[in-house]
Symmetry: C4
Subunit: 405 residues, 4 copies
């Protein structure tokens, strides 16, 4: 027993063995918000299984607003009877039958962000009910936390209760911690969760500064209001120092993908390519959010670029580091097989004439800087021409000494 416990305590990302690569899937939130029901979920699951599972997207995540208005007489939190007339288990079974995995949502607070019943101080009961229904995944939010934060200790204690409850069910349940980076979960949660959000909520804006995402850093300054309406650029800048904290079993979550999400400001194709490139290279979870019926072929091509997904899912790749910051950025990922990926990203408003010597790409390794490389444009086989370096664009190159990736 002692041996088993010791081994269990050695896992990065909790002791459930999950998350060896970042999770991929689809969530109800961006497409449907609170307006979900069993039919929508099953229809979406079918499309996810049909169109996206071949590329690796496997989680169908039910986000907020599935809950009944009150706990039942036994204290169990059941699904809303109108929206889920047959209960959650029936939906989960159908998701499983499609070859997918099923995710659920709650908050480590008295209420969820959508003001439904939360799981704070009901961790054991709720974890068990989700395990009983067959769920494989929990996104655990941070609204209405009764002030139980402010030091890593307080936040760890609150989120560890659910980690323990999930483990106690005996069912492996992917634990997606979502406290918006408060108190630095990349430090305190890497032994208990499989991923952790690092910032306020993303919106589908490429680089708009928005008061509602007011933090200027997630590592300094003790921001107490992570907020929402964070742009792709802002979250990428937040994430730059944090790749060092991720590893198989536990990942930095840069929030869901805005590719093909129609509500809001919206991303151009170039911006979507940049967004997907960076999320993949930083080994963020890839959780989509479109209404499948409305997804353009261009956006579909972005979300299913196998070369880029391969970077994200490469068991031997490391989260990208940023070699150059500011409005024009250079990112580099180490891949398996002595290969590398390099992305040039233009968040600015002007054209960027970039020339990047290998001595900069491999500034800390002279051998690599002098090697002969074969470079591949990882976006060239999508259905759009590879453009010059315009505002909003990024270029992603895979480089290999072996001549293959």
């Amino acid at each position: 027993l002692a041996t088993i416990l010791a081994l269990a305590s050695l896992a990065h990302g909790g002791s459930n063995g999950l998350g060896q690569t970042p999770q991929m899937g689809w969530s109800t939130w961006n497409a449907y918000g609170c307006e979900i029901d069993a039919d929508i979920i099953i229809e979406s699951a079918k499309q996810l299984a049909d169109q996206m599972k071949p590329f690796g997207y496997e989680y169908l995540n039910i986000d907020d607003c599935w809950q009944a208005a009150e706990r039942n007489a036994q204290g169990v939190l059941e699904a809303n009877k109108t929206r889920f007339p047959d209960g959650l288990k029936a939906v989960v079974d159908q998701i499983h039958d499609l070859g997918l995995k099923a995710g659920i949502y709650s908050s480590a607070g008295t209420m969820t962000c959508g003001r439904k019943i939360g799981s704070l101080d009901h961790e054991e009961t709720d974890a068990q009910s989700w395990a009983d229904a067959g769920f494989d995944y929990l996104k655990y939010d941070n609204c209405f936390a009764q002030g139980r934060s402010g030091t890593p200790q307080f936040s760890y204690d609150r989120y560890n209760k659910m980690a323990t409850a999930l483990n106690n069910t005996g069912r492996p349940i992917f634990y997606s911690l979502c406290n918006w980076g408060e108190d630095g979960p990349w430090n305190f949660a890497s032994t208990i969760a499989n991923s952790w959000r690092i910032s306020g909520d993303i919106t589908n804006s490429f680089n708009r500064e928005d008061d509602r995402c007011p933090c200027t850093s997630v590592v300094e300054g003790d921001c107490n209001t992570q907020g929402y309406h964070c742009s792709v650029e802002k979250i990428a800048n937040f994430a730059a120092p944090l790749g060092q904290k991720a590893a198989p079993g536990g990942w930095n979550d840069l929030d869901s993908l805005e590719v093909g999400v129609s509500v809001g400001e919206g991303l151009t194709l170039d911006e979507s390519v940049t967004h997907f490139t960076l999320w993949s290279m930083m080994k963020s979870p890839l959780i989509q959010g479109p209404v499948f019926a409305d997804l353009s072929s261009q956006d579909r091509a972005v979300l299913t670029n196998e070369h880029v997904i391969a970077i994200n899912q490469d068991p031997g790749s490391t989260p990208a580091i940023r070699l150059q910051s500011g409005k024009q950025q250079v990112w580099q990922s180490t891949l398996s097989n002595d290969s590398y990926a390099v992305a040039l990203v233009n968040f600015g408003e002007s054209k960027w004439d970039v020339e990047l010597p290998l001595s900069e790409v491999f500034f800390d390794d002279r051998k690599l800087a002098k090697a002969s490389w074969t470079a591949y444009d990882l976006w060239s086989d999508t259905d759009f021409q590879n453009p010059p370096r315009k505002p909003g664009q990024s270029k992603l190159q895979g480089m290999s000494v072996q001549g293959k990736l």
Copy 2:
């Protein structure tokens, strides 16, 4: 029972059901400071009932300095006998007879800010005595708190004691938490209070930087000295990211209105219009402070602009977001009935030639940006000419696709 408790715990803004729209009223502090007595209060209540209640102002709030010098033999904190010879209940009864509600004041410390007896560690006793006297509202301050702060947890614990004590009385008492934004009450207090101050005390200055209000942000930097003499501009800037935290039941409190307050630097009419516009759009409580006998007709017109108050009290409106920051600002509120309010605010010292395309006002919704709008100047029917965009001015437009607001 379990059901009832579960429901109770789901309330935003405490479980008392109050504060479905921001509170409106009048407080003794700005007009009279510590120099209050029963006569002043009853006379003010009469004027409030007569002049302001028709516009929605309903709370007559007794602020600091009502207390006796010591608790009585039973530990109860009674009113100062000289100032309130018949006790508080007699005053409250008269306030109620005028159709108003009555508010009282204390501090979550050993002393109030005016160095009278505070309620820290006497929460149950004091809440019961206020309920017994018939009070409907408590402003609960933060002076002399014995160091019980520094993390949301510590502040929550201290303020939750009074929330619980108020609820235990069985009387619905509006809970106006006033800890000056320390430890981020918009995060920790939204389930226990009906409003929470977000910053140090306001003064009647439009945009003067004053050392005594030293924080540069309320969301980053962990300021420990919220202070006072904060200008309208400074508090508006503090509030910009926080609208997302307010909802029916619990509101960001930008502090009382300085319109018509004669002590201090003072506001011009343009500045008063701007102040009232912003407080209304951000859905701040509207608590006035003038000596009614001294209130000019212009200031009275500002405080009673029904169009602007309607924005504040619209059950379907959301706290304004800021679209443009700096010295020249643009704010937008979503109103009921597919209508919107847009304010242009000039905090600078120079004239502002502004042209605001609809694509900026509705930057995240292309349909709205292309719709046809009817726009109303919500200040045009007051007794002053609608001016050009001078320093200190603001322009508030209501926009509706239906052609009415």
Copy 3:
């Protein structure tokens, strides 16, 4: 009894009734550091009584290094036998016989800053031994605190133990808290201490930036290393927002006076005048540190300017507020009898041609701005000519509508 306790709990600055005006005195530290003994102290006391007591300086404070190397068998911390052959009480008696009061020093840590035995977890024993010896004053430092800080709660708890211990002796002992501003003592300590340091240690430099005093603010940014070698300018800037927190019974301590202290960089006469002006106007304690035998007549004149001391000791004056910041500053104090003091301070390296309209001095009171004033130069009767506005200089004017101060 309940009444007495209630009253006691209402005191600002502890319940000992002391500190109705800022303390004035002399400390051994700047002149002698660790090299103190009974003879030095008694000789200094004689000179303090003779030369300085007529101007209000009454405390003879024994700073660090009076301690024996270990506690005695009963756990009592006695004086070093070599330096104090007759013990502390004999010295205190002589200090008292000179009409002075006597101060002692310790640290709320395991060691003092001079690495002698500290009082942490020995509060009751040490407080009683100081009371037994007849001490009237304790400076309580912050070195080697075993990590018991980081929130106001932790610091309050540590320092409140000594406050309670001092009160329990029954002897009124002035409590000079010295935690260098950590966790904001102006917030948490104002009910338990008579003064509290706000920053790292002063050095006798007027405006030199020194890495060893690394904080850039005492109200924001959570500085963990208050340090030393803080200049007069830096501490004045730190103090600017904090005057609002001081009141009779508890004062912001800007650290001891460097006037006439010969070790280190040193102050010019102009700089000493500025230093003494600001400390007096901010109602800081005035604790001198020179070797009396080496004190120049000019420095003596600065330290004994009765007009300036009167501002500091005026029971009705309020800590100065700063009207203008930067390198050229304007400060204003409200004095008794409808009088005011205004100081113009030049921390810069260039000449300052200043013209200050009354509308700026009284920006928030139009009546005062339009009144007729009689102005006095409060430094004109010292033994140096009142100079123009050169670098390092300050000008201090007292203004009165009655024609007298």
Copy 4:
């Protein structure tokens, strides 16, 4: 007993009596990382004893990855059997036989940074096993700490457990605390540890800004991600205010020496000289990391400059203070025998024409500024010419009034 305890509690740097000067030695990490075994260690120890011990380097420190995959049945953490077939004690014995001291490594977390078993909540067991094996030194890291940080109190409690456990073994074991400066160990750990890291991990870059070392200050801003890839310049800037916190028994640890470390960007000879100069003057531990067989004669000359080492090990010298900051810096150390060391350091990219008057070097002591000095170039007897002030260079002068150092 009380006396003994009192004395014990008075030690700076723990009560083990060690660390009267900064530790000197060699660690396995930079040369071998996780790929260590008994043979490598013993071979390295022989070379350390042979080549470096004459200059003062005495600790052979086994860093991470010595551990077995699990604790044994008694809960003891043994060495990896493959890498250490005869166990740790056999290796330690051979290290001791070479006249060296032996160091070991663990983390105050559930795992070490290399994801091996950590010592959190196993402090007594592990300390005893290291004492039993004869270790003289522990480097105690900060990975996977389960959120037990965020205030000095929390970090102190976690690290004090190991300090107590080490002391309880009865064996003097140098305690090298490595929490990357979190919560300010120079404040909370100086009574329990012999050295404490102040920042994220160093890399062998002279002045490259790297996102992975994201803190901008270690004294303000509450950085939660200390990271790695910190340059020599960045750590020197972090250290500048902290010299005041070090003293015999407890030292600021600026991290290991990168001189001669071949992995990574690398340092030029000028940069190595600067690095070694600053670490020595700041009285940082001097822990080398090269593969001895690959060490160039130039780098060897840097690491064994007796004049510079003498500054570091001078029992009477104080950690350097910085007189001038920015890209061109001036540092000064006070040495024994009325001597001083002055270093001019150029972190910039351009040539620096510097003239430094004695009045700046001794800005706070006019006597010294006017004295006659004999100056020595402490790098002139190495095997390279003393160069002009080029980018990356530093010049180190020893100055003495007696004409000798």
